[in-house]
């Protein structure tokens, strides 16, 4: 292995994470190569230096402050629970969704039924009446209109003395 091939494996070698075969190869190279050996030492030493960073001692009063803060927040949290929408639990959300879907379907069905009523009413008008209406539309002179039998009935009705 040459220096370029060794470099990517140096940190894993130092952490003892390589297989035995690879470790021995790298070790053999480091024993011969001053540059890579110095690199490995620098990597290890700089990593070890991180231990110099201070560790904070346990903070006295942390737990006391925590319980105090929790007690102060408790009334505010209780208030929030009353407001349903923001705190809606998933199960309630499902129930409300189903209710909404049911309402929408119900509105559609009602609309369909009212249209059906109109259609049923339309079906009650018989062909004779439709034909009469069509004739009235198409007629251009009185003679044609007078030929329509229903108008004779209307004339008969007009002549009856009230």
């Amino acid at each position: 292995m040459n220096c370029r091939e060794i470099k990517p494996f140096l940190t894993q070698f130092l952490d003892g994470e390589l297989c035995q075969e690879k470790s021995l190869e790298i070790k053999a190279h480091l024993e011969k190569c001053r540059h890579c050996s110095d690199e490995a030492v620098l990597l290890k030493e700089s990593w070890d230096l991180l231990r110099q960073d201070e560790q904070l001692a346990p903070l006295s009063g942390f737990k006391t402050d925590f319980w105090k803060r929790l007690a102060e927040e408790a009334p505010a949290l209780e208030k929030k629970k009353v407001i349903v929408f923001p705190g809606l639990k998933p199960r309630l959300a499902v129930v409300f969704s189903l209710a909404a879907v049911t309402l929408i379907c119900g509105a559609y069905v009602m609309s369909f039924l009212s249209d059906k009523g109109i259609r049923d009413l339309a079906m009650l008008i018989n062909d004779k009446d439709i034909s009469m209406l069509k004739n009235l539309d198409l007629a251009e002179d009185l003679a044609v209109i007078e030929n329509i039998p229903v108008l004779e009935e209307l004339k008969a009705m007009d002549s009856v003395e009230l």
Binding site: P8, T11, Q12, E39, V41, L42, L43, E45, S46, W47, L49, L50, R51, Q52, D53, E54, Q55, L56, P58, L59, F62, K63, D65, F66, R69, L70, E73, L77
Partner: protein, 202 residues
């Protein structure tokens, strides 16, 4: 009910404690607070660099653990979960500080000759040379870690100071184990360059 929920985390004693707390066992929460208090404070402190803010954020971490106990389900180790909460809150604080720094001149003041400096150094302060050198080293180490990209910084802190395994670091950061190793490799290279002066003196 508690045992069924543990599933793959039957060996995690902390998850078991959290489930006990979920069922109303408050002393179980106290045990978790005692165990993780210092770890979480130090983790956040190393990440954001301010002791008081680290303590405040750590308080918020435990408040969230307390508040959301009813929704807790052990999908990962308890330590992974709590570290993840800490990481997210610390990241929020960093973003807030970055935004604030853009629009604030806090910490910037002029010296006698008009030079703008962000940190006042008292050259007259008495102290042993060794102690000064040690403090200088600590500052250099902190700066070196601080200059790392966020994920590399997280990986270094969790590996070096918290001794967490790669799998857990991956769970906290939200990446694969091989990505964690790659992050650490790159971080170590950077740290080697920044700490070369001190490493060579050892």
């Amino acid at each position: 009910m508690g045992r069924e929920e543990l599933n793959g985390f039957m060996q995690d004693a902390d998850a078991a404690l959290m489930l006990k707390f979920k069922e109303g066992d408050k002393p179980a929460f106290e045990l978790l607070l005692d165990k993780y208090q210092n770890r979480i404070i130090n983790f956040i402190y190393r990440f954001i660099g301010d002791k008081q803010e680290a303590a405040d954020i750590a308080q918020e971490v435990f408040l969230r653990v307390y508040r959301f106990a009813q929704d807790y389900t052990p999908k990962a180790k308890f330590s992974t979960w709590i570290y993840k909460i800490a990481k997210n809150l610390a990241l929020n604080e960093l973003r807030r500080k970055k935004f604030h720094r853009l629009f604030s001149l806090e910490g910037v003041f002029s010296t006698e000759d008009g030079e703008i400096s962000c940190q006042q150094i008292d050259n007259n302060q008495a102290g042993a040379r060794a102690e000064l050198e040690k403090q200088d080293l600590i500052r250099t180490v902190k700066k070196a870690i601080d200059c790392l990209p966020v994920n590399q910084k997280l990986a270094v802190i969790l590996r070096r100071y918290d001794d967490l395994p790669y799998s857990e670091i991956a769970g906290i950061i939200g990446c694969s184990e091989s990505a964690v190793k790659s992050l650490l490799n790159r971080a170590k290279e950077t740290l080697k360059e920044k700490l070369k002066f001190y490493a060579q003196r050892k």
